[in-house]
């Protein structure tokens, strides 16, 4: 395999997996928040904290990819 083709494939795989990881991060944050709420009996507080963390985690993925994409 040529080196350039390999690099292109790598970038393709990385950026193609970006969308799903953003969505899943938000849902994981939400799920963790809901679970902890049930555990500590602090209804909606931890859900919002978890949701916020999930959203931040998802967007940090995008920012990191953007930094990587600047090399082109």
């Amino acid at each position: 395999m040529k080196k350039e083709t390999g690099n292109n494939l790598r970038e393709l795989g990385y950026f193609a997996s970006l969308g799903i990881s953003v969505a899943l991060s938000i849902f994981i944050g939400l799920g963790l928040g809901l679970w902890l709420d049930k555990k500590f009996d602090t209804d909606p507080v931890l859900m919002f904290v978890g949701l916020g963390l999930g959203i931040v985690a998802g967007f940090s993925n995008i920012i990191r990819a953007g930094k990587k994409g600047k090399n082109y």
């Binding site: 395999m1 795989g13 997996s17 994981i28 963790l32 999930g54 985690a57 998802g58």
Partner: protein, 229 residues
Amino acid sequence: MEHPYLFLTSVFGLFGLEEWAAHHPHVTYMWLAMIILIVFGWLAGKSVSLVPETAQNVFEVLISGLEEFVVSITGEEGRKSYPLLISIFLFVLVGNLMGLVPSFFAPTASVNTTMALALIAVGWSHVVGVWHHGFKYIKHFLGPVPLMIPLFLPIELIAHLARVLSLTFRLFGNMMGHELVVLILLMLGGMFLAPLPVMAMGVFVALVQAFVFFLLSTMYIAGAIEEAH
């Protein structure tokens, strides 16, 4: 949706295990994929010669081509992880292609199989990270500024959990969707060979999904090897 007829289930029915096999087709067909891979590996390794002949040529191109590809991503340290990665690639490929054979079930179209594979791949990337950086591997999770650790730690943990789930659901969703489309088209217009175009595309989907799974596991290992940001 249940499969109308599964070949291995009726084989297990000969031994009185029909009910168990009907509930766990992904397990029986995973065994079949493993047997196929072991037989091919045995055939390829049986008569290794310096000047490769027919079958050995094919395997050498596949194995060494992908090895160079993996090393170009991870660097020389990633060569030790290559056996796991190529096993995942070949297993997922065989599992995906199995779904195209009539009366066969694709083991990767069950969330149990894909979740197990994703856990192994992501778990191994962390093992490689600890192996490489020792205790300092935790820096990967702490972000650049010490003050922000309480914020960065949960974010990084969520991002790493999302890796497992995204690997799981991408493979599962693609293979399951393909199976369902073929089954529905078969019921609607099986007499007019309606599922044929979808099955032809299935060959492509199987190859691409196996390669994507392999590529992403490689990149997670590469991310564990490189220095913390």
